[in-house]
């Protein structure tokens, strides 16, 4: 079925990673950040909203799950759910204020809010552990009524758990992207003013996109905390938001599977390069500039171009392909 080819691609990647990679932690990280990148993509690629605040929701997810698992006997699935909800709530708050502005103002606000959250996390040491963050986060087994169904102790066992969650969320987001809501978002991205003029409530649409994005990103943060056992302050740092954005853009906006590509590309490259050269981020900065200038559709777009070339231009847009004519000077006043 054509509709779910992307899901198939994702499933293939999920199955392939244990076969091709050594580190279960790295593989889990790829999926975790793919979730975060998809959340970012929903905002950027579908709605046209560039948010530097994804670190807020990622951090919220981490802190929430850390607190719930270390301080109270909350079952792990519930903790994950609550972390997701916290991410959604955080996004609702940030979104409600930021969405009042359009364009660049909006972008700047998300950055300012990200910084605000960072400093809140820094000062609220009782909740967040401040500079040290929260530690010793357990990784409980999946259990029902005391019966252990699934041990998550080893990295690859945890990977299995993460990949299941990833595939479910991926499928859900695919549904969202194809839904009436998703299609309307594309219109908002294309021409916001027209969308408003024909009757759409931009604020509500953007807010809903924000909330979904926040939820997914919060879930990613929670899984990350479980994987590393830590909820560090750095999750709320500018660099985390930047990293998520970079993955989204390099993968390709407007396409959910591309976010998995972007996450894999970034993390595998980081893993390999950081051992060779500590300043590898320099290359990433240059790569980001290059993508913004010349490869705006990201890795996915590159793949599509290559595929099309190989197919010998088999894909052509249907119907008349006519370039819009230069505007003729309209007749004004009375005709002779």
């Amino acid at each position: 079925m054509k509709k779910y080819t992307h899901f198939l691609f994702a499933a293939v990647v999920v199955v392939a990673m244990p076969l091709l990679m050594q580190s279960g932690s790295l593989a889990s990280e790829v999926l975790i950040f793919a979730l975060a990148a998809m959340g970012c993509n929903l905002l950027l690629g579908f709605t046209g909203l560039l948010s530097f605040g994804q670190g807020i929701f990622f951090g919220l997810g981490s802190y929430t799950v850390a607190l719930l698992l270390t301080r109270w006997p909350v079952p792990m699935p519930l903790a994950l759910l609550l972390a997701t909800v916290m991410g959604a709530l955080g996004a609702a708050v940030v979104g409600w204020v930021a969405i009042r502005q359009r364009g660049t103002y909006f972008v700047m606000l998300t950055l300012a809010f990200a910084q605000m959250f960072y400093f809140i996390a820094y000062t609220a040491t009782g909740l967040t552990g401040g500079d040290n963050g929260l530690m010793d986060i357990p990784r409980p087994n999946v259990s029902i009524l005391g019966f252990d169904l699934w041990t998550l102790a080893s990295p690859w066992q945890f990977y299995g758990f993460v990949s299941l969650i990833f595939l479910v969320v991926f499928w859900l987001l695919l549904k969202v992207s194809r839904s009436t809501f998703g299609r309307t978002l594309l219109a908002v991205r294309d021409n916001e003013e027209r969308a408003a003029a024909i009757g759409y409530n931009l604020r509500l649409l953007k807010l809903q996109a924000f909330v979904i994005s926040g939820a997914v990103t919060g879930l990613a943060g929670a899984l990350h905390a479980m994987m590393t056992g830590l909820a560090p302050l750095s999750n709320a740092e500018y660099h985390t938001s930047e990293m998520i954005l970079v993955m989204t853009v390099i993968g390709g906006t407007g396409n959910l599977f591309a976010s998995l590509l972007g996450s894999a590309f970034y993390l595998l490259l980081a893993d390999w390069l950081s051992q060779l050269w500590p300043r590898w981020l320099l290359l990433l900065g240059i790569a980001l500039m290059a993508v913004s200038l010349w490869m705006q559709r990201g890795l996915w777009g590159l793949g599509e171009t290559v595929w099309n070339r190989l197919q010998g231009h088999r894909k052509q847009s249907a119907g008349t392909v006519v370039a819009p004519s230069a505007a003729a000077v309209p007749a004004k006043g009375e005709q002779a």
Binding site: K175, T184, D190, R194, A195, A196, A197, T320, Q335
Partner: protein, 258 residues
């Protein structure tokens, strides 16, 4: 002579200021249902500003606007769409990356914007509003291009799609802002016939510079100048009105603002 239909839309002493500049200085207007009502005037007369006021694209500085008996003065555009007011734009403003059919579906959907928040169901089947979309496609003559991205259409086709977008909302009143701007002769005739055909099911308010079309299809013509109504009446009355002639001819000869 067609019998007089009830008044659908009324502007009462509408004003609009941009800082110190008065774009509209007290404009009153009545549009009757199922008529083609044209608004003409030299550049800078305030025609497009008047449109913005009537459709809610921008807010008034003073005066009132009544639609279907209701005071809609302070309602923004997306609310007025739900009441049955739709507009096209002077500068083509389509969803260029999306296919023609999708553009129209979005226009049709805009009347029930709550559905747009549905994050689960795809817009297929009943939700795709195919009946409305297909009807509009045939009305504007773009059936063959339904799957083409709007950005790939010719200028004339894009102008027709502009009108189609407004039609898709099945409005009571449709506002067309210079629908023929930039069109070649062949396209002009098609557009003229299209606008004329709209009268039966809709009320058309039209800004046009092409006098041929205005005189041929309008029931009422309002002439504006410098933010005020200069004259109003049936086409042949306007054609012979001295003030109108001065306003236009003066404009043409001196080339400046009348």
């Amino acid at each position: 002579m067609r019998p007089k239909t009830p008044i659908l839309l009324e502007a009462i002493d509408v004003e609009k200021h941009y800082g110190k500049f008065a774009a509209l200085g007290g404009v009153s207007l009545q549009v009757r249902a199922n008529t083609v009502h044209s608004v003409i005037g030299p550049n800078g007369a305030g025609k497009t500003t008047l449109f913005h006021m009537l459709t809610g694209t921008k807010a008034v500085s003073g005066g009132r606007i009544l639609f279907d008996g209701q005071d809609v003065t302070h309602e923004p555009d997306h609310r007025r769409v739900q009441r049955g007011i739709a507009r096209s734009f002077q500068v083509t403003s389509l969803f260029l990356s999306l296919p023609v059919r999708e553009n129209l579906r979005l226009g049709a959907q805009g009347v029930q914007p709550a559905r747009a928040l549905n994050p689960w169901h795809e817009p297929v089947g009943a939700r795709a509003q195919s009946q409305v979309v297909d009807a509009v496609l045939s009305k504007v003559g773009l059936e063959n291009l339904a799957d083409t991205p709007a950005g790939n259409l010719s200028h004339g086709q894009q102008r027709r799609l502009e009108v189609g977008m407004a039609l898709a909302a099945r409005p009571k009143a449709i506002f067309l802002d210079e629908p023929t701007s930039g069109m070649g002769i062949d396209d002009l005739d098609d557009m003229k016939r299209l606008i004329k055909s709209l009268r039966d099911e809709h009320t058309v308010v039209l800004i046009e510079h092409n006098m041929n079309i205005v005189m041929d299809i309008s029931d009422t013509v309002t002439v504006m100048q410098l933010g005020r109504v200069l004259a109003e009446g049936m086409p042949h009355d306007i054609r012979s009105d001295e003030r109108v002639r001065t306003a236009y001819l003066g404009n043409m000869i001196t080339g400046g603002k009348a």
